[in-house]
Subunit: 387 residues, 2 copies
Amino acid sequence: MKYSKLYKETLLKDIIPFWEKHSIDNLYGGYFTCLDTKGNVYDTDKFMWLQGRQAWTFSMLYNKVKKNESWLQIAKNGVDFLRNHGIDSRGNFYFSTTQDGKPLVKAYNIFSDCFAAMAFSQYALASGDEEVKELAIKTYYNILKRKDNPKGKYEKTTDARPLKGFSLPMILSNLVLELEDILPADEVEKTIDFSVNEVMEVFLDKKSGLIYENVRPDGSHEDSYNGRLLNPGHGIEAMWFMMDIAIRKDDQKLIERASQVIVNILEYSWDEKYGGLYYFMDVKGYPPQQLEWDQKLWWVHLESLVALSKAYELTKNPEIKKWYDKIHNYSWSHFSNPKNGEWFGYLNRQGEVLLNLKGGKWKGCFHVPRAMYQCWKSFEAIEKSIQ
Amino acid sequence: MKYSKLYKETLLKDIIPFWEKHSIDNLYGGYFTCLDTKGNVYDTDKFMWLQGRQAWTFSMLYNKVKKNESWLQIAKNGVDFLRNHGIDSRGNFYFSTTQDGKPLVKAYNIFSDCFAAMAFSQYALASGDEEVKELAIKTYYNILKRKDNPKGKYEKTTDARPLKGFSLPMILSNLVLELEDILPADEVEKTIDFSVNEVMEVFLDKKSGLIYENVRPDGSHEDSYNGRLLNPGHGIEAMWFMMDIAIRKDDQKLIERASQVIVNILEYSWDEKYGGLYYFMDVKGYPPQQLEWDQKLWWVHLESLVALSKAYELTKNPEIKKWYDKIHNYSWSHFSNPKNGEWFGYLNRQGEVLLNLKGGKWKGCFHVPRAMYQCWKSFEAIEKSIQ
């Protein structure tokens, strides 16, 4: 089977039906995400990251794949839950609520807000709902307002040794393209320039060619647990955001640089003994503080497949294709689960299933369908260009 | 070799020399705890939990094993660092500082304070230092003052679905005995009664015989990630604290109950496939949120050895001895590392070393030496009674 067909069919006949069937809360709205191997709900708490991400996914499918009214309805289900129960009095998004929408964990960071903004923007495009569009814009500016102190009063570190994190510029580089149609053009350009500069000039280390997860405000490296931390999946995911920006800017040099960084990170983080990509690493090879460092996570591998298929589409570099095949073989043989649908999320280092789940507190309807869609489209272009 | 001799010799010829040789910061005071397999320092940050715990260990050795002046000096090194750099303007203890004592992570919980209070109390007993004794008392009352809201402004959960945690009554049950000589007798009795009641009547589930990590304020169970969580090592450790209290109260019934709970937890959390005890479990068998749930941790196994040797000393129950032998064989063959000294801390489920370290952010000079001392003394009593 051609890869374009594999990804398209898996998206439409396996992944999406799994979430359509198991995740919809018809009683209180929103989505269940704690789903066991077969899709049974094992916990009913609602996590705003995942509410936003699933609402985004179904809106995106409606916008890009097919004007399927039931997808729009599913998207609305999450958008309404977020609007009615996800926002605190300051306009910040909670981390989680009970099934019926009572706040459980407060707005201690701005990532819930980022995924809500993405959802609102895609849904506004799909539905034409002006109120949701306004809410997307308002949420975006609220994120920018909080971005220099995203944890607010929950920040536990002093300013004795300040570090800035990669997550924020990385997410912004994707978020701004998601909101491109509803933000002023100069705002879009400004945020693109900011995030490309942060990602490619500040967090990308020129010497090693790797992306650091945390750097000092002046961009230099700190010899501490956080300062030495590498998050290979983050770095690779950011590279396909960079390539999306490069396409928009018609910047072939940025495409080439991003492709090289993907290879650098893959070479560094591939587990030669058991295969797969490590979750966390210490750049000096010291023991990381994350006990889960050697585990193999679904999103790390899916983001690698997206990044590699996009890089191959844009460069036709055979080294990229070799890496694509390697990650493809590992991912499809370890995470995929056609018998029950969706992909497993968490494997141990040896590649065995660590948690018997298809969704949880952090895994929802997002990385798998987004990667399926992205790889489908990249391989469609690749296969077309070969014919 | 007799077990009493094994534990005594390992304590005095392996474990303590390791920390004496590698952990002392002669430049800024306090202790390095991030030590690789051979004892080399790989990170110089100082974690107040571990500063307190090591100062406690060396004070305890001075008080109970030998009046060794260099041990007292090592204890003073940590006590002074804690006094000079560990305390914020409210009398709360930071989580961590830089090597030279600049605050890094603020006082977001009261566990640093608990270990500081233990250290001050043991050190005051060893040195006769009245100021440190006063500081121990002051720290203890500050812990009590904060105990109903230990995280203060850093608490992220709302009060929509309140839970109380097992850690606090568990630690208090040990802390109050540690501070017995310097607190008023009625305060000691009150806190003992409170903690025994919480541990044995509230957190211990009558039906399953297991200890829950979190329960509702009325003691009932909540069907959520936190409500379903079991932390086998915590439950087992608490049982030897209960037995210490039972000895003091001459309460044979409490000894019998605690011994039974140890067996219940061990039966529930023993890994039949690879051996060793799981780190976290979900009481309904659902996937836990802790990705490290299946790992084998040093302290879980050492606390089990202490609990079992104490339970066997006090009950002579052959079922306890059987479990002791099982945990002994696993622990000494997997964690111990006579070649380089100290024990490994973190193994994967299969029993292989996961992190190449002897100390880190959470592992210092505490569980290993405390367990060595406790098991040495228990086996001394057991062997004497057999002769």
